[in-house]
């Protein structure tokens, strides 16, 4: 099963083992990883599961769709080129080792 590493804005790192198919947001919430709020439960409605994706993995992700791209303009922390909503990243085996950093604030 793929491992996902979450790094907080202060540099604390947590690695969790996730089931393929769940989202990067769900894997965080289920494992008690702080820094991801996910108010809307994964519906791409609230921009509170914002993460910065490690550059090495950006090319492995499907590009953000129109609704995620729009929602990313509402993030509470600065949007960067590697900003994504973690509810829109489905974990697959090829994402094993994925590293994301959570922003300082989510709302």
């Amino acid at each position: 099963m793929p491992n996902i590493t979450y790094i907080s804005h202060t540099g604390e790192s947590r690695t969790v083992t996730a089931d393929a198919g769940v989202s990067v947001m769900q894997a965080a919430v289920r494992n008690g990883v702080p820094g991801i709020v996910a108010d809307c439960g994964g519906e791409c409605q609230c921009a509170t599961c914002h993460v910065y994706v490690d550059e090495k993995f950006l090319g492995l992700l499907k590009p953000a769709e129109e609704d995620e791209d729009a929602m990313l303009t509402l993030t509470a922390s600065e949007r960067k080129p590697n900003s994504r909503l973690s509810c829109q990243i489905a974990i697959t085996d090829k994402l094993d080792g994925l590293i994301v950093t959570t922003p300082e604030i989510q709302q």
């Binding site: 769940v22 769900q26 919430v29 289920r30 008690g32 996910a38 108010d39 809307c40 439960g41 994964g42 519906e43 791409c44 409605q45 609230c46 129109e66 609704d67 791209d69 729009a70 929602m71 303009t73 509402l74 709302q107």
Partner: protein
């Protein structure tokens, strides 16, 4: 979709965060003088601040049938899903989000669907006339049969015929008994000020049960939405933790029916001017609704960028939101 995939927090979250989670033991009485809550078991809890997040329960129809389904809890949803079969017949009673989402899910699964609603138009409380009509056409294209303006008083009504499942989505009733029992001001919701304090300054109310002053509504309103519940909870937590905040968030709502994702920003209500932008025939458009020359709410169908822009726009001072 697996039930655990819709959990907001896993069961062990509360332990980890050192929050004592008491379930299956309802709060039955508030003794405000001694700042004490009494639970059904007789257990007593003291508080310095108390937050009422008692929610709402579904409005039900009288009459007996084992075919009826209400949608409020996970158990309700799982039970409904287990009874949905391709080729079966569903009757949805109520033309709001619940009735229409159930109708869309059932049609998509290959059920025959009929929808009866007392109101003459769909989602009348939540959307403009334009959107009501557009969604009626969408559902009709997908084969949903409507009987609008038809109030159902009882499940024993022979006009319901004999579908396999009857989904009833005719609104909710806020849970105000605990507040009323404690002498707090509460009628169609627990009345709060703009900091979500009830008539007792040590007691707050948030979410579906809170009848709160809302700048976008121009008065007291009770909102049933994810946005309202989450933002009100954070607002009160901030106040209790020593940084008082007035509740002032732009309301937003969403629903998905067939291929249409409808997103609403602002407070739906009376309008005297609706401006449509985009391509309704292609299912990608927004409706900008004005009242007395002011932008009140914006409805977007499969136009997420418009919706986000509207949320930002509606946060601006009302004076610059005029249509001219």
């Amino acid at each position: 979709m697996a039930p655990e995939s819709i959990e907001f927090r896993p069961a062990d979250f509360f332990d980890r965060e050192q929050i004592e989670f008491i379930s299956g033991d309802a709060a039955v009485e508030i003794e405000r003088g001694s700042r004490l809550i009494r639970l059904q078991s007789g257990r007593e809890l003291h508080y310095s601040e108390l937050v009422l997040a008692t929610g709402a329960h579904v409005r039900t129809l009288p009459g007996a049938t084992d075919k009826v389904a209400y949608i409020r809890t996970l158990t309700d949803s799982l039970s409904l899903r287990s009874r949905m079969r391709k080729g079966g017949e569903m009757l949805a009673i109520g033309g709001g989000f619940i009735g229409l989402e159930a109708a869309a899910a059932a049609r998509s699964m290959g059920m025959t669907v009929r929808l009866m609603a007392a109101e003459p138009r769909l989602m009348g409380r939540a959307v403009s006339h334009y959107i009501s009509d557009w969604f009626a056409a969408l559902h009709e294209r997908h084969g949903v049969q409507f009987q609008l303006g038809t109030a159902v008083a009882t499940l024993d009504d022979p006009a319901l015929a004999s579908p396999d499942i009857i989904v009833v989505g005719i609104g909710v009733i806020p849970n105000v008994a605990l507040a009323q029992g404690a002498g707090l001001e509460a009628f169609s919701g627990i009345v709060t000020d703009n900091h979500l304090r009830t008539s007792d300054s040590a007691i707050f109310a948030v979410g579906d049960c809170a009848l709160h002053p809302n700048a976008w509504a121009g008065g007291l309103v009770r909102l049933e939405s994810v946005q309202n519940a989450a933002d009100q909870a954070r607002c009160v937590a901030s106040t209790i933790a020593g940084t008082p905040k007035a509740y002032a968030h732009v309301p937003w709502f969403w629903t998905e029916q067939f291929e249409a994702k409808l997103q609403i920003a602002g407070m739906p209500g009376e309008t005297d001017e609706s401006v449509v932008r985009g391509d309704p025939a292609a299912g990608k458009f927004s409706v900008y609704n004005y009242q007395a020359g002011k932008l009140r709410f914006v409805e977007s169908v499969n136009k997420p960028a418009d919706h986000i822009a509207a949320r930002k726009l509606l946060e601006l001072p009302p004076s610059i939101l005029g249509s001219s």
